[in-house]
């Protein structure tokens, strides 16, 4: 194995470890050591045997992880509380631009004539992510106040409209984020690891390992960032939904009147779940901005911002956080996979009918549109169904489990 492959394998260990934790079904005492060993084996094995394919798989997984975060955000709105939010793209855009404004430097010198932005704080990456979550949450709260009292179908129309307006603001307000021109030069966390000379804070031993890597290998590091962020978001949401608070959300979704009768603050809970979803989507946007380096308003059109996230959540299983992540990876896989097919078609068609060849890229829209219709028709609950009982307490003592409530405590 050449040194570059070994260095790449080191980066793969953490994402693979999380994957192993998610797949393995055993007690945590076993899951952690087995998961780590498997991750190391697979990482070095893959880099040893198929290094070329891994490069592609990494960039694929980064995007899929980012979409999984959006899908999780939508799940906490739609899956747990039944908000028909067709404005995912809006929060996505707010998060992305907020983070970009926080972590970039304001344009100076000659650039200032071509690029404008409201401010540039040069803050650390993590500050940008947190700011994105906060601003997106505030925007979500402001939207929730008038809109959540509406019927579910009005909510869908209203959120679709809000997302469109947010996109237009980023398109037309030059002073805010460079208007229709892209906002570029968004810093990437730890990018100096892949530059020569490497960051000064990196210990000598680590620096030697990553020395053979090039800046184009940055995706390996960002995969770690994205997967860790995804794991944190998943953990928080999973804890939230199993808590009394999360169960109250589900109660409000299913039986609003009963929930109110049991003293649950229905209106407030609805706003809380909407804002939580907005925060998560904002975080997803922040991660997206740093990965893309250059963003502009056209990245946040309804197709990529809203529609595809909905297909992911519906396919994976709304109301199930694992399903939301699974759906994101499957749909992004379908999307990327059909990209190969249409590229091949384009190549073969271009000699016969160049007009049509240039349009085959749109075939995948057609496919994903039909896919959503199919899901709605044949499996509206998605691949992974929502769990009936999410409470950890009830599950432990449910009939059939080893412990019983009736047993006397020691």
């Amino acid at each position: 194995m050449d040194p570059a492959a070994i260095a790449k394998a080191y980066f793969l260990i953490i994402p693979l470890m999380f994957l192993a934790f998610a797949i393995l079904r055993m007690r945590w005492a076993w899951r952690i050591p087995v998961g780590i060993v498997l991750a190391v084996l697979v990482a070095f094995g893959a880099e040893g045997f198929v290094p070329g394919a891994i490069d592609y798989l990494v960039s694929f997984s980064v995007m899929a992880s980012l979409y999984a975060i959006l899908s999780l955000g939508l799940n906490s709105q739609w899956g747990y509380n039944g908000h028909l939010d067709f404005g995912v793209a809006g929060f996505f855009a707010v998060g992305a631009f907020t983070s970009a404004l926080f972590i970039t430097a304001p344009p100076s010198g000659l650039m200032a004539q071509y690029a404008q932005q409201a401010f540039g704080l040069q803050a650390p990456f993590l500050v940008g992510v947190i700011a994105a979550g906060i601003v997106s949450g505030v925007v979500g709260y402001l939207i929730a106040l008038p809109v959540l009292r509406l019927r579910v179908d009005f909510l869908a129309i209203a959120t679709l409209g809000i997302a469109e307006i947010i996109r237009r603001i980023f398109q037309n307000e030059r002073w805010l984020a460079n208007g229709p021109q892209p906002l570029s030069g968004i810093p990437q966390p730890f990018s100096c690891v892949f530059q020569h000379p490497v960051c000064s804070w990196l210990p000598k031993s680590v620096a030697d390992v990553v020395a053979p890597l090039q800046p184009r290998d940055y995706g390996y590091l960002y995969l770690v960032v994205a997967v860790v962020a995804l794991a944190i978001v998943y953990f928080i949401l999973e804890t939230a939904v199993r808590s009394p608070w999360g169960r109250a959300l589900r109660a409000v979704r299913d039986e609003e009147a009963s929930a109110a009768m049991n003293g649950k603050p229905v209106a407030s809970l609805r706003v809380q779940s909407f804002v939580l979803g907005a925060v998560v989507m904002g975080v997803g946007g922040a991660l997206y901005a740093s990965y893309m380096v250059t963003i502009d308003y056209s990245h946040f059109k309804p197709l990529f911002g809203t529609f595809i996230v909905w297909v992911m959540l519906m396919l994976g299983g709304s109301g199930n956080n694992k399903g939301a992540i699974l759906g994101a990876f499957v749909i992004w896989g379908v999307w990327s996979g059909t990209g190969f097919v249409t590229d091949a078609m384009q190549a073969s068609l271009s000699s016969i009918a160049p007009e049509i060849a240039s349009r085959t890229a749109f075939l995948r829209w057609t496919f994903v549109g039909l896919l959503l219709a199919g899901i709605v028709l044949y499996r509206p609950e998605g691949i992974l169904k929502e769990e009936k009982i999410v409470s950890g307490f009830l599950k432990r003592f449910a009939p059939g489990s080893r412990k019983r409530l009736a047993e006397p405590a020691e």
């Binding site: 039944g82 028909l84 067709f86 008038p146 809109v147 009292r149 509406l150 019927r151 579910v152 179908d153 009005f154 869908a156 129309i157 209203a158 679709l160 409209g161 809000i162 469109e164 307006i165 237009r168 398109q171 037309n172 309804p302 197709l303 529609f307 909905w310 297909v311 519906m314 007009e355 049509i356 240039s358 349009r359 085959t360 749109f362 075939l363 829209w365 057609t366 994903v368 549109g369 039909l370 896919l371 959503l372 219709a373 709605v376 028709l377 509206p380």
Partner: protein, 361 residues
Amino acid sequence: MAKTLVEDAPVDMLAVGKASDDAKPQDTQEGSFLDGRAAMGIGLAVILVAMWLLGYATGTDVQTLLSLTIWGVMLGGIIALGGIGLTLCYGVLKFPNFAHGALVTLGAYVTLAVIQLLPKSQPIWNFSFGWELVVGLLVAIPVTGIVSVLIDGALYRKLRHRNAALVLFAMASLGMAFFLRSVIYLLWGSDFHFFYVGRSNPALHLPLGIRVQADQLFVFGLALVLVILVYWLLARTKMGKAMRATADNPDLAQVRGIDTERVIAWTWCIGGGLAAAGGVMYALASQLRPDMGFTLLLPMFAGVIMGGIGNAFGAFVGCIVIGIAIQLTSAFMSPAYGPAVAFALMVLTLLVRPQGLFAEK
């Protein structure tokens, strides 16, 4: 129409929010609905006048404002063509059809295909188009109508049969919106198109210094004729009555021997046809883009909600108001925010009077 869960809360807001002067009517029972309607009408008029004044204050002269208003009425006519179909489907089928914008686009592109097939004739009168556009329109209306009936049969009917939740219908229609748009991309590409490339479209000089293109007059005239036709259909014909009965209560309608599936098919057909007409008119006024219908979707929903869901006449008036508001926006703001103004009016309506301007009850 569809009974809302939260209908009462916003009505309370109406009583409180609108009576900014001393009178504070606590009574929000049936009797005050008329007041609510009047208040809302006045409120809308005040908003439009305020937009006029704002435009005037920021240096737009009266003639331009007058022209903008007239153009707004024309734009409102286009929006109304889509909006009426949307409101009928919304009223009868009880879900917001997010694919309606794609039907608008489809109608325009079908007409484009017909125009490209036919030989070009001389322009009629002062219009920029010849007879082939009229032929294209007459082809596009039934084609789009049939397409929407087919979509209903393949998708929505199955959902209806298993009593699917409203959200599934909305989602299915969102899927269809992207499906139809992608088909348009596949067939016609992503470039802009014009019905007629480089043909001049001189403005007519009307009294008071208003400049209006003949095409715009045609657009508004057609919208008016179609609206009257729909009104006649709903008020006088058996099918129209069956449609209204189905919208009110599908089960009762079925008990009375109405074939609701047939009614629904006709609703789709009429809705799709009107959307196609709206698309052709919009393309005549600007250009053909694959996302043109999506741009119109928000103003259409705004007009529909303002006029009261299921109310064709209400949708017409609502869409005209929205059209004027969108055009007047450009007097004091970037015209890109026209849809935002439409949206703001929609949210205002939903908060103040969610049953719309012309609710029957």
